[in-house]
């Protein structure tokens, strides 16, 4: 048709190439998101709870709430 000859395009293995790309990408992204969630959400939350309850005094907490006047059963 035209004077210049185009290079022959890739004819085979197109699905295989696409599958490989998407499987690798999907695997990497999934692992990455899971790792980020573990560090940024799960571990952070566990640490927050551990830190809160390490030196938690329930009676002291209760006294503070009672003095603030929020209870109906005890003033």
């Amino acid at each position: 048709m035209a004077p210049e000859v185009l290079p022959k395009p890739q004819m085979r293995g197109l699905l295989a190439r696409r599958l490989r790309f998407h499987m690798v990408t999907g695997f990497v992204l999934s692992l990455g998101v899971a790792a980020l969630y573990k560090v940024g959400v799960a571990d952070k939350r566990k640490k927050a709870y551990a830190d809160f309850y390490r030196n938690y005094d329930a009676m002291k907490d209760f006294e503070e709430m009672r003095k603030a006047g929020i209870f109906q059963s005890v003033k």
Binding site: M1, R45, F52, E64, M65, I70
Partner: protein
């Protein structure tokens, strides 16, 4: 046609619509939309019919030449044969366009009109907000929530400094 003869042997099983229409052409007139149609689709690479239905004399001659060895066809003839069979090439049918700009613009335009409608609605339709939205009420509400130590680990009370009596920096 051999297929219909086989079906009649088996016992009048499923026969396609087009076969039935062809058999009753004297009674049923088939509209354009009932016949197999040509489509330019990426996921349907070989359409049911060719693009050009009625060939000119030169095209008919070319189709005859196609029955011989293809190496005798010139480049232009090959392209002509392609254009008889197909309307747009894959590159042509997949070309990008500026349609998305029109779509996004029109959507934003109508969202803008909706915004005006909602503003009118707030002014002329809705009654006053309940007292629970007043600034003083919300302040008293928040103070009570802090007194109750709501969500003291990661939530509201965790953001309040109980020693200094202010929000944590």
């Amino acid at each position: 046609m051999l297929a219909t003869r086989v079906f009649s042997l088996v016992g009048k099983r499923a026969i396609s619509t087009s076969v039935c229409v062809r058999a009753h052409e004297s009674v049923v007139k088939s509209e354009d939309f009932m016949l197999p149609a040509y489509v330019d689709r990426r996921d349907y690479p070989l359409p049911d019919v060719a693009h050009v239905k009625h060939l000119s004399a030169s095209q008919k001659a070319l189709k005859e030449k196609e029955k011989a060895s293809w190496s005798s066809l010139s480049m232009d003839e090959k392209v002509e044969l392609y254009r008889i069979k197909f309307k747009e090439s894959f590159a042509e049918m997949n070309r990008r366009s500026n349609e998305w700009k029109t779509v996004v613009g029109t959507a934003m335009f109508f969202i803008g009109i909706t915004a005006l409608v909602i503003m009118w609605e707030k002014l002329y339709v809705y009654g006053p907000l309940p007292q629970t939205f007043d600034k003083e009420w919300v302040a008293m509400q928040t103070k009570r929530m802090l007194d109750m130590k709501v969500n003291p680990i990661q939530g509201l009370a965790s953001k309040w400094d109980y020693e200094k009596n202010e929000w944590k920096k």
